[in-house]
Symmetry: D2
Subunit: 297 residues, 4 copies
């Protein structure tokens, strides 16, 4: 029997468009959020407001959360007024936040004890992808639950990858961030070398996009750097949070992440200069300050 | 009037298939190489052998060199028996080796003094791309010469980017290597984090290929790492050479390249373990030794 | 009026000898510890056992804590049965653990509200220095309290530096760890370079001890590396904890710490190989694994 | 029979006071230098001028060179008008420059073929130590020659360490630079963390000088940073040269030097800002630019 009633907690920059996409896909949606305007917007679009995460869960076959960090999810998932407190046996809980995998496992165990199947299903992609419903979703949890929730996930994401048992969605997401942020650092260094050496930065971007140095970062963010466009698709301070989680995981499992650690220092320098809310391509500005030059062209 | 007579000096792993492609594109080809078997192979395919780089140049409207490092090119281009010594006024010289941009500028000036137009046109792509004629070519030098040489370059490359005056082809190539090797380091760290955390590495590759962490490296080299396939497309010791040139350029122009410097240390560790002739994806083995784990799956 | 009654909570490798030194300096000492044997040892030496941190504080004019990490101190200082709960107005509380400066400030404020003056006074030096009473002490808090507590601090430490208001003792301690661990990394690299290049490592140590590269690390830990003596003076996992706190502080205040981040990766590799309880000079073994060589001589 | 006639080639910031010390120790001194004023100064003090390195060698039982870099030494030692060309069988040649160990070995072999015993004996310490005759000297070459030259070396240095056969003096010197520059980076990071966290930098220096983080760098250069005194004892651009040689050696022998590589990037940033002639403590200014703060106090 198909799932028809969905709930959404956490209507931020990412959560809001994701919730809209669930509405547009035909789900009956109940929502909750700390601040009111986002709730009103979703209600205007056809959703029902609920007073707590627990109430959202009561009204829903599947409850989704999209929250900033591990402690937020801990509270909203496991708190007295939280998702699991309100979830019926046989319902589902999908946390799409990027948090510590250990917490995802804790939640999955707590859910299992109540007969609630849990997925950790963090996403990759900016608010643009969230609006377009083309987020990349990395899911951990029971395979059966993953299969049952395909229509729900498909309403929000393009590429949906099953990554293994509970916590593995978050684990793969952190791998994604390590790869992504390290790649961005490599692109920043290449652009800075080109800029300092007097190269035509359009030629750098064009040439590098054609071969083994090709990446989403060179194709998408290098041109923005060169145009001094630092508007956020994905914010520096969120990237920092993700890298912090990755280092924490690296410590737990014994994986050295020196390149990622270096990228963190550059982001820290961007934050020190007040740029925490800029897009991650602003990593270039840290290198610029250090080198006394500009990536512009 | 179209160019019909081409010359080629340096018939190594890359040069040999590039020379074959010139033959197949209909150019009359004169070749020279330090060791004989490669010359014989090209002669069997229709080329003419010459006793020196100067003789190759004498017989050709355009002479191409594809050599290991800066001192090799210096000797072959500027030596008494070298390319420029044999080049007629109005002919062209294209060096496709990866060398120091400063040497390319020196050669271009020496060429100009003799009425020979020079391009520095290094390539990106492995021997597979060399065979397929789909190399990415980054060219520096006079725009007019670049345009005149399009049929020659097209015989060897797919994406051909004009990068600016003499030396800029090499400059952009070094930017390419900085971006590429840094991206590879990011991919190695992500794969190591996944491996240590018990993730399904196929899922890691699939998920990371779908979003902002996407790169040629994750799509092409990460699967080889996981299969323990360290056969060379591009060799560690050549990558080291390129990164050395990039750091040298970085020193000259004042561009800090900390991530690239870290990647160099990993390659150094691979070389210390006797892996200089492995493919660059063997960077993973340095991380593995450090972390005491394996990327396998 | 001189302080005569002191209390001590946390009788570990460092705390035990520190408590003994207080006894030997003539203080009436009340102690508490999670596990019993250390308490018995101190009682045998003349101390009085108490059932909780609060009871220790009730019996003491100054209470000292020496605990592993921030959450431990938070609980023992601020908990219902904790130090401040038992402290009389006009008494002192000195935390000598290495913890987050922000927690020291929180404790100082809570103490001030109860009329208890607090110092954060972490130490540098191993258990040997703790026994000898020659620890280096970095103290933050009211200057007046610092002066009043001189006899207490002098019983445990040699060099005692006043660092400023609450939290500044911890801040300077974290600076100390950043400098120390980075210096150790530099020493490891120098020893590895010497070893790989076939140098006499005794000559390396002797020569480097004579000039601008001189450090406590080269003089004290480099010889131990060369003798394969990895017994702990200060343990890898504690160094890791301190560097984690330093990075956390670096994030809060916007100070990039790339060298320290690199040192952390080396320690992580040591921990991954099961060496968390080795001395910090085992950082060399991570480099050895990476480089495939040994520092021995 | 004691050596009485010494020669000196290379009267720069270091060479000049070293030559003076040889005069003061009673040696009959013959000198040569590219530029004249330094020669005149030494002649005024009692030395004899010679027209070439070869002539210096002809007049001397031991010839000393103190030159900027490897190619300079190559030319002055091995050139047609060089030291070995003028050296008599049974005489000595001591190169005190910091150069590639491989070149020292080449020179020692060339010397041996002519019956000239060669030492590589680079120094540590600034011009102040050169004047005071308290340089630290690291010597490689035959032990017998080292012993015979003690009176000569003692005239210039305080701590004189025999490091092994030819090239080992240079090897240990490069180890020294790796340790020294990495330690300086650690000190800069610690000072920056303290500065950003609002610590009293005098307290930081005092506290860190008292324990395991103690180093020549914290004791001598950290106070200069805090006073914004960037006058050179040892120049950034020379430190860069030495680190370049260290990395070259690291590549040859397979020793990863990631921390040293990071320090190089900071020096590169200092040079990019025009600070190549500042003292090495100006490394702090690169961190300051990156972090947007100042080490001042």
């Amino acid at each position: 029997m198909a799932i028809t009633r969905a709930g959404f907690v956490g209507l931020g920059i990412m959560g809001r468009p994701m919730a809209h996409n669930l509405l547009e896909a035909g789900f009956k949606l109940t929502v909750h959020n700390r601040s009111r305007p986002a709730v009103d917007e979703l209600v205007a679009a056809g959703a029902t407001a609920a007073g707590s995460a627990a109430e959202v869960a009561k009204a829903s076959e599947v409850t989704i959360t999209m929250l900033p960090d591990t402690p937020d999810v801990e509270k909203v998932a496991l708190g007295t007024d939280g998702v699991l407190a309100g979830s019926a046996r046989g319902s589902y809980y999908v946390d799409m936040s990027t948090i510590a995998p250990a917490m995802s496992r804790t939640i999955a165990e707590a859910g299992a004890a109540k007969g609630v199947q849990c997925l950790d299903a963090p996403v990759s992609g900016s608010d643009v992808a969230a609006k377009a419903g083309t987020l990349s979703i990395m899911a951990g949890g029971d395979r059966e639950a993953f299969d049952a929730l395909q229509p729900v996930l498909s309403a929000m994401g393009g590429k949906i990858v099953y990554c293994g048992p509970a916590g593995m969605g978050e684990t793969v997401k952190l791998c994604n961030q390590v790869a992504g942020m390290g790649t961005l650092m490599a692109v920043c260094e290449a652009m800075m070398l080109g800029a300092k050496a007097g190269a035509d930065l359009n030629a750098v971007v064009e040439a590098l996009s054609g071969g083994a140095a090709r990446s989403w970062m060179i194709e998408n963010l290098a041109p923005r750097m060169a145009k001094r466009d630092f508007a956020p698709g994905f914010m520096v301070r969120l990237a920092q949070k993700d890298l912090r989680l990755a280092q924490q995981l690296g410590t737990e499992v014994g994986a050295p992440l020196a390149g990622a650690a270096l990228a963190q220092q550059l982001y820290r320098a961007v934050e020190a200069a007040g740029g925490g809310d800029l897009g991650i391509q602003a990593m270039a500005t840290a290198l610029e300050r250090l080198a006394g030059g500009e990536i512009r062209g």
